[in-house]
Symmetry: D2
Subunit: 428 residues, 4 copies
């Protein structure tokens, strides 16, 4: 049997990341992935933002093993459990209260980001009695039908098989360039009773569009968006699934912008350990759910409660971690700027914020070739963006400076190789 | 702070099971749940069918701790991992091959049942190019919009906030009683070009309707349904999320019926440990997915791969376990029949199959009162059904005979108390 | 230029009736159509039920010419006009009041049946705040998207291009034969909170399904349906577009059944002259429209008001006309029974009610061949039904007995020829 | 009985124009409406653009009376009739051929504009296999569900009762002012595979938005729109229901712009006499309809064929009429400019094109007051626009110069009175 025969024979052709990284991974620690054969890779993908604290973080791992050894509840539906209480208490004390969000409540939706988006949309529609929702160009919110309806990606939308309705698509910040005020555009359409845009229940937005290509919304744009929501009585849903949990240098991606979303969705790095976990955080007064209206089997993933509480306690009790993220973000951005200046000052540019960064390439083929070359040299890295043209760096926030530098060196070489080859090809 | 204050203050009012079981659980072993205060309960709910092998099964637990200690990959998107390969190999060898399903493939959808239903519906619509789907009265398939559209439950449907479209609802087996052939009805409507039922992509069906109240489809009905699917070129999707993984006495609920579904969804007890995990199993030739068309962050929950492989190996390598399930199922059914004969031969009856059993009460209030009384006496048990009128026994398949008997004794007393009180009230 | 070249060159291929009757008609009087070449045909199609009072009825024609000569308003949007007032007064006095419907109001929707159906559905949804609607197998209500969603015909549904949603399809009276009570079925599903049938705003039903193949609902079934509507707080919409205006022997098709629909749609023969005209008749208290909520350019077709008022006055002021319709209906039915007994007592049967009658053939090809043969001999007649298997007799209600007899003779010969040829073919 | 009692008692409250013009009209000739009491009004509403050739045009009236006296076919479903052939021949010879549209075909949809829009959308979706359609802010296309989905008006949309889906709403020409290129915006979104705008089947556009407030698209914008359609393989549907039939000074509103729509809808003034009539005109190769796929009872309104053919022959055989329309349009525009300069150079401005003109007022209340005052002085005139803020002049194209001048004098006085009163009120 060849290395991948089992997968090729038994797993659906839908598998995709494995096509970019044709090895079988076995172990992982911090920012490092190790194959079955023992080959080691620096992880600049980090579970697409799910492993902010690295693989198998020892503190979290210890807590989880202890919990297992104690026969702690693993699966608890939405029953009360000791582990859930601890998570709630920690999340409230460490995250919500210090950020002025003490009066928010937590819904344990199903354990996926898509599920928390589905729950958030349902709640917004229920509370407002409206069905239309505004979502943005290049937004990504998940692949279940409700979440997919607000997602922009055509590849995913094309597989829906049913109409994706009750959504008005609007241009994201700077979608039409710096000079076009997309908030004013929305305001005009929403203020016009004959624009054809039915009054929305909510706006759902990512502060940094991870899958969409690391497009960022400025604090100013977000504040105007919040005002727009107030003016037109729409709820503001921030999908912080990828950009949250510290990725941008603060726990929430929006917390230094002076806004208060009505609803926040969190998942990915929330468990801190890569375990499926998602929540909806909502203003107290929006909690108009009836018991059990939105349910699901895995709402009570207690392992995730355990590692999440440990992660919050360990990383967010003071601002040490946040500051280190900001510093590392700067280190990576600087390194990327160097690459850009060196290899393609006219055709390349850096995108993103915090440790959610990427280099925009002229096209998807170039970006793919760079990632492939980097992988050959020991770096797991992927693309994102509407044309898959952005080489996206999403390493664990706990990565060391040495690992960052090593990864950037690999990346630099990959850009040199690929862009150099292109020049050579054009010349020939 | 009172016992539940943290939850009441910070958790959304949507929480529901905790309202029936107002205690804080801390530990669990096998068929036993233990509160923070050390009080022990027999678990006749079992995570709504998620804990077929009991809480913290020692074999699975050992495998998981070992995996953690070895720094095995936890989160792997859909990259190749050692643990995934082992799961695939084991599932194929132990489950699919022996059941003549060797030519089926596995899709790792998101880790919830709802997500696997969403993926199955998308695939069926893609493959057939049609959008309508047939689902059944009292069917339950999940709460994300795609899954909710095929779910019957009005409480959940009412919270959708958007139209639930592209579904034709049909009467389940025996929905109109023994004498009405619901397959013939469907055939007539599907054969009539002006019936208004657009040609469906698929039929989605549960062989036993867990949430719907333990309604069962006979082998004969299922075979006719399969034929109907062939005749009208619809795919047959069996949602075996609750009834599968051994619950009815065989791994799949349908495997002794002589049918071969086109697509099967599995979740709940698949990981064997209560960890979020779900798959779509499909005929080889239906695997027409393009890479990444339906994706999600937690498709690669490697902890679940580890426990699932261990569970399959441990419980399904031979037929010992299946036989014990069948025997225990009989024991429970017999016990229930006794309760029925004793307390309400005219108003009560036993429903279900295998270890998926329940007693149908005259109404939901009665059933709720019985569950409440049982809980007061040490038994965690819940209702299901369209009027929540079925007292549902869904204990771990690994439960001991002693535990069964003890639970039935508690249940017997609860029926006596509640029905006795009712008689007393009516007399007064 | 050949006879049809202009049509073939300039008219869309969507044209259809002209394919069955490949001649160019020029004039028409009563039950007679005359081609450009002067050939005369008896009209057993009557504009698919639009010409109940015959072509160019002299009384109506005179009124219309007079109105034209007086420069009466032709097009009046929904402004007040003398002609509209006269129609309203006449309709109320001659039709509504004597039938106990004096407290109903009239909405002038757009001048097509489909438009009145769209308006009726909107109103029902608005008044009840629900969106689901029940419609029946083989029901036909029009081809605009709202009307099409409640129509059963697959050929028309297939051309929608968008989802036809918010409709639950139910079996019509006797759809599953005499012994299956389809009202009880609906009641069970509507009473079951988990059936998946969302609480409907309304039921829309034809008392005789014209396009569906002359299926009839009994008075008993209609009364039970009315009760079902009251029980589940659904509005009862009777689409009397084809079966109304006297076609069944009374002005409304339901008026001897002892029911009072909440909403009635009328069109086709309402103008009495073949002019586009449609109205929605509703219980007073359901008239919750805001001004202009549903509008359209041709709501005020004053020519139709003029001819409609004249028709009502002339035909419905007393019961003479109704009685003659009943008598002629019997004459036609008797004639058809003779044909059935003579040519195919085992394979043919008579369907319908009043002067809305047809002979059910074994298949659509046979029915088409019979119509073709009849046309060759001077009779314009068409098929209906889900397999186009019903030879449908829908002659003007003003047809003479001689014309009836002549038409039946032609029909008899056509059955003889076609069925005889079939026997001959089978024998050879 | 008071003057309106019959209406108030028997007609639905949905009636609307009659509220602005509380009189009962009885006769009409040319640009004049006459009440039952003999009071005469100049008609600046003209059936909302349905009476381009005036009321009861004598040539058309004569043709219709003659046809009636000859017992011509009135109602012909979609059978071949002499009158239909004559219409087709005339329309092709007089309109299509000279405009380079000889290879287009005509579909006789139901006789309302909404129905032709429904048919056009169905056809576009069928031909392209896509379901999304682009429509514009402030577009108006009708009130049946399919047509309503592309309509912008919130009042009408709000009455839908069902989701209006499969439409992407885009900003019309100049919607965001002169400096924002809305074509470039659309191009960016349509070129972006992750914009969330699913590839559209078609764009539906009005060259002048009649109900939307007389917004005009320039020739340059329309040409760019046509190019955009070609680039993204979308069909270009021009809804010329209100702006067509000569209203802008040429038969089609777009014919001097150098574009060729794929599909054109016509209705309103098409019959020339105010009779219900609508057609879909399509490129030959798009005529992929199967016989009868979209049908309706009143597709063959032969009276309308007769008057339409007469109107085309009489008004469009040479360019005399078109030139007179252009001249009258200038006369009205000049008169309006005078009103604007006199009464509100800062707050009023003239909008529109050809004889489709209006004065934009600061708000809807002002516009309504002006129309009310004008009506009191003998002028029937209405508002349009998203805030009903445009006083809209839509008189018959056959109006005399004297009538124009008289109407403008009344209008001038109404502006003086209403704006003068406002100044007085503010001062007091």
């Amino acid at each position: 049997m060849n290395t991948f025969e089992q997968f090729e024979k038994n797993e659906s052709d839908i598998r995709s990341y494995c096509r970019s990284f044709p090895v079988v991974f076995k172990q992982a620690r911090g920012a490092e992935l190790v194959t079955r054969e023992g080959k080691s890779y620096i992880d600049f993908l980090a579970g697409a933002g799910t492993l902010n604290y690295g693989h198998n973080n020892p503190i979290l791992k210890k807590a989880l093993i202890q919990y297992l050894e104690d026969d702690g509840i693993t699966h608890g539906l939405d029953m009360y459990s000791d582990a859930k209480e601890r998570f709630l208490e920690t999340f409230n004390r460490v995250i919500l209260e210090p950020r002025g969000l003490g009066a928010y409540k937590v819904q344990f939706s199903g354990p996926t980001g898509a599920n928390s988006v589905e729950a958030a949309l349902k709640l917004a529609r229920k509370v407002t009695g409206r069905s239309n929702v505004i979502s943005f160009t290049n937004g990504f919110h998940g692949c279940t039908i409700g979440a997919l309806s607000v997602t922009g990606n055509g590849h995913h939308r094309g597989a829906a098989g049913v109409p994706l309705s009750e959504v008005s698509r609007m241009p994201y910040a700077n979608y039409f360039g710096d000079k076009v005020n997309t908030i004013a555009m929305m305001d005009k359409m929403l203020s016009d009773p004959s624009s054809g845009i039915d009054k929305p229940a909510a706006v759902i937005v990512e502060v940094v569009q991870g899958e969409g290509g690391l497009n960022t919304a400025s604090a100013d744009w977000m504040r105007k968006l919040e005002k727009l929501c107030r003016k037109h009585e729409m709820l503001l849903i921030v999908d912080d699934i990828q950009a949250g949990c510290g990725r941008t240098g603060t726990f929430f991606s929006f917390e230094e912008m002076g806004i208060k979303p009505d609803i926040i969705t969190l998942s990915k790095s929330l468990s801190g350990f890569g375990l499926p976990f998602a929540i909806v955080v909502m203003r107290n007064e929006l909690d108009q759910w009836e018991p059990g209206e939105h349910n699901g089997t895995f709402r009570g993933n207690n392992h995730a409660f355990v590692t999440a509480a440990a992660a919050l306690e360990n990383f967010w009790a003071d601002d040490t971690f946040a500051k280190s993220v900001q510093a590392k973000g700067k280190r990576i951005a600087d390194g990327m700027q160097k690459i850009v200046r060196k290899h393609g000052p006219d055709s390349l540019y850096v995108k993103g914020r915090g440790m959610m960064l990427g280099i925009n390439c002229p096209d998807g083929d170039t970006a793919a070739a760079i990632c492939k070359e980097a992988f050959a040299n020991g770096l797991v890295i992927e693309t994102s963006g509407n044309h898959s043209q952005v080489v996206k760096c999403l390493c664990p926030l706990t990565i060391t400076e040495e690992q960052i530098d090593k990864a950037l060196t690999i990346l630099d070489a990959a850009f040199a190789k690929v862009l150099g080859d292109q020049v050579a090809n054009q010349a020939s």
